[in-house]
Amino acid sequence: MLRLEARPAPSRAMSLASPLIALAITVVIGTCLFVLLGKDPLRGLAVFFVEPLKSVYALTELAVKATPLLLIALGLAVCFRSNVWNIGAEGQFIVGAIAAGGIAMLAGKDTGNWFFVLVLAGGVLGGMLWAAIVALLRDRFNANEILVSLMLVYVAEQLLNYVVYGPWKDPHGYNFPQTITFLKSTQVPRLYGSYRVNIGTIGALVAVAAFWILLFRTYAGFQLQVGGLAPAAARYAGFSARKALWSALLLSGAMAGLAGGLEVAGPLGQLTPHVPAGYGFAAIIVAFVGRLHPVGIVFSAILMSMFYIGGELAQSRLGLPKSLTGVFQGLLLFTLLACDTLIAYRIRWTSSHATAPSSAALPASQMQSQTQTIDDAPLGPVVASSNLPTREST
């Protein structure tokens, strides 16, 4: 029979292979799904994995969707590495978009082309503000940041609904719940011809480098991560847990807000109730599939973006519901968590009588302690999402 056996040391190779195995299993299950739905599985897979790469237009659209995922996931990676569980990037994204939209509406006919900078700054501040609420409640009242950040997503959605149905509704918009279409001067410069991809994508790639430096080459990044890996060691060293909490949340809020601002000042061009596209939640998966490593996150953001586009194409080409995107995202995260077991464990065939029950069921705490590291090789930590934050009294 099959038996899980603890490895003497976590396997680096498996840490890299795990996302690939997870992707392979996702593809296999996806194929079965298409067969069960009565569709040609090859066409189905092509829609997800070939079509999004087929033309220049397809590639630019891939970048348009990967950019917000990448930005948000970078911030979340820092958060998760610091053992701060910000699940509400979606809310910070929305508030960032609202703040950016509010500033964009201030632009007049003679506003210069630099105005988009202010719009983006508004997005950053909006996201930080929303995350600061989480930090404040955790810091002052020891409120669980998972719950608070998640609940604030729904508050943010209502806030968005309020402004687009109420005070900010376009007076010439035939009573549709939407703001005016923002002026050209508020828009982020596009990169190439008439394609929607803009300089935000370049910015995201610069952010990848910046986050790599923060995490692996600065004392501040080191302190943040020690707080996540071993709170007692951080206290021993004198690294402030409060500072780590605030900086992790403000940083990830800023990144989510920036992504929201870029959507407003880019592809969307106005506020509608459809601003939330689920990027904030999908970015959690992006961060974990990318091993919480900036370079890994680039690849996982592209993959997740393919799922988004594939879902849309599946709707128009195959007549399947768009929620297929969510199914694929969920499958990937689920199989990834399962495959990550193999980083700390290996599978052994054993004859049934020699089975030692003691080694087959190691406590989960032990398992996760073996899978978190600060490492600048493109692999490293994935934390079981059931890992609740440990409370530090400050």
Partner: protein
């Protein structure tokens, strides 16, 4: 016929062979010592006997019959009981409720209380079954564990390092109980690395080293040196003691009173003492009497100490952060190596950054080369066996990681080094090296404060001893003038009569 016989027991773990064809024979009514260093395979062997671990090979015989013990429940059915080194008691339940939990439910709680009183009376194990466990001292908790083990009238009792939490007096009381049990025919497996105790108590001794049996002797006929040779393959190196060259007061703790943070912790009560440059001061005491709280207050991990209660060179540091204290020359080695003194999953190089910031440049930029070089030099200077600066902290053995952590702090050239349990779970060779390093530091004029539960260790390296009991500390006494008996009595809090009139507090 033997009560218990192990024939060629082997157990392979992924990285080590914990037991390699181990043979062990225990007669009825025999107190049988299993002696070995940490990592020699003692615990694995006991877990195999108790059914918590399965051996890969070998045979176990119980009263001459071959048996396969699949679980601790089966072991108990055979008549094997075990008292673990770390107690498994619920703090919020009473002693009787704790015992009741482990029994089959045919008895009522009232029956259990009566039975505990009976067993406790017969063996002189004073226990109040109705008291909640969190109000019991460590020694009392151990008695609850032993009573629990005796409730089923075992034929073999396994005790894992039972004296590490006891005062010297409590050790003698325990020995009386164990001898009485043995006289009644109960066999006892006594696991320890303390040579004096084994020679005083045990009839027979099996020595393990590296998972193999290296000797079977009658401990009464052996000397500490000969047992030590069997255990570590060499005699422990002797330390060089020089006359202390006392300097000015470095650390001064005055009226440190601190309410407990954890409900089961210990409050500190007007703790006062001093440490001077060029001396080693030891704090003795049974664990859980406020040592951890005192260390946290001195290291800066707990910053609630009243202003002015802790001074370093006369400057108030009671509320300073650990980093400010380090800048002022106070370095600390905590008792937990993994998770506190070092981050388990990080490399040795990265772990230097916890307390050493020499490689942090402008704007917090980390100079990776300098970090690696520091780790490399620590590994070389302190003889740490590790793959290199890139090895994860948790890949090192306890002794080597401790050498690295102690080395990291010594290398920082502290003016005051505070060390908690310097050689806990460290093999004899590494322990001797660490003690030697501490003495060398003292000879160079550093003030050293050591907290340890091993009295032998404190007597070996300290110039002056103070005792902590129930959150209060005794006056200091020169080690040369102190006796084990006296310090043992003080560990129960009874120092006032020795200081009734003549002595002023140190």
């Amino acid at each position: 016929m033997h009560r218990l016989e192990l024939i060629d027991i082997s157990k392979q773990y992924p990285a080590v062979k914990a037991n390699d064809r181990v043979r062990l024979r225990v007669k009825p009514g025999e107190i049988h010592a299993v002696l070995g260093e940490n990592g020699a395979g003692k615990s694995t062997l006991m877990k195999i006997i108790y059914g918590a671990v399965r051996p890969d090979e070998g045979e176990m015989r119980w009263n001459g019959e071959q048996v396969q013990v699949a679980s601790p429940a089966e072991a108990r059915k055979l008549g094997i009981s075990m008292v673990y080194q770390h107690f498994s008691l619920f703090d919020t339940l009473t002693a009787a409720e704790n015992v009741w939990l482990g029994l089959d439910k045919s008895l009522s709680l009232a029956d259990v209380v009566a039975r505990i009183r009976e067993v406790a009376g017969v063996y002189g194990l004073e226990v109040d079954p109705l008291r909640p466990v969190h109000t019991l001292s460590v020694g009392e908790r151990q008695r609850v564990e032993i009573v629990r083990a005796l409730m089923t009238s075992p034929k073999l009792l396994i005790l894992d390092e039972p004296t590490s939490v006891l005062t010297p007096q409590a050790v003698q009381t325990l020995f009386v109980t164990l001898r009485k049990l043995a006289q009644e025919g109960c066999s006892i497996l006594y696991i320890s690395h303390k040579l004096d105790e084994i020679r005083a108590l045990c009839h027979h001794c099996t020595v393990l080293r590296g998972g193999k049996v290296t000797g079977e002797v009658d401990p009464a006929k052996e000397s500490n040196a000969s047992l030590s040779r069997l255990m570590i393959g060499a005699e422990p190196p002797q330390l060089q003691h020089r006359e202390p060259n006392l300097g000015s007061v470095v650390l001064s703790v005055r009226g440190l009173t601190l309410a407990k943070e954890d409900p089961f912790g210990t409050a500190l009560d007007a703790v006062s003492f001093e440490v001077r440059a060029g001396e080693v001061v030891g704090i003795a005491g049974v664990s859980g009497n406020g040592q951890q709280e005192l260390m946290a207050a001195i290291s800066g991990e707990d910053r609630r100490a009243p202003a002015g209660s802790i001074r370093l060179f006369g400057n108030d540091i009671a509320r300073a952060s650990p980093r400010r204290r380090r800048v002022a020359g106070l370095h600390f080695v905590p008792e937990e190596r993994l998770g506190r003194g070092a981050v388990p999953t990080l490399s040795l190089a990265q772990n230097t950054l916890l307390t050493r910031t020499g490689a942090v440049g402008a704007f917090g930029w980390l100079r990776i080369d300098a970090i690696g070089a520091l780790a490399e030099s620590l590994i070389r200077r302190f003889n740490v066996k590790a793959g290199g600066p890139g090895s994860a902290a948790k890949s090192l053995s306890g002794g080597n990681l401790q050498k690295f952590i102690v080395g990291r702090e010594i290398d920082a050239q502290p003016k005051l080094l505070v060390v908690s349990q310097p050689t806990w779970g460290v093999d004899v060779g590494a322990a001797a090296q660490i003690r030697g390093e501490l003495l060398a530091l003292r000879d160079n004029g550093c003030a050293v404060l050591v907290v340890s539960e091993e009295l032998d260790e404190l007597f070996e390296i300290c110039d002056r001893l103070i005792v902590i009991a129930q959150g209060r500390v005794s006056p200091g006494v020169a080690t040369a003038a102190a006796t084990v008996e006296q310090i043992g009595e003080w560990m129960s809090g009874l120092w006032s009569r020795d200081f009734a009139a003549s002595h002023a507090p140190a």
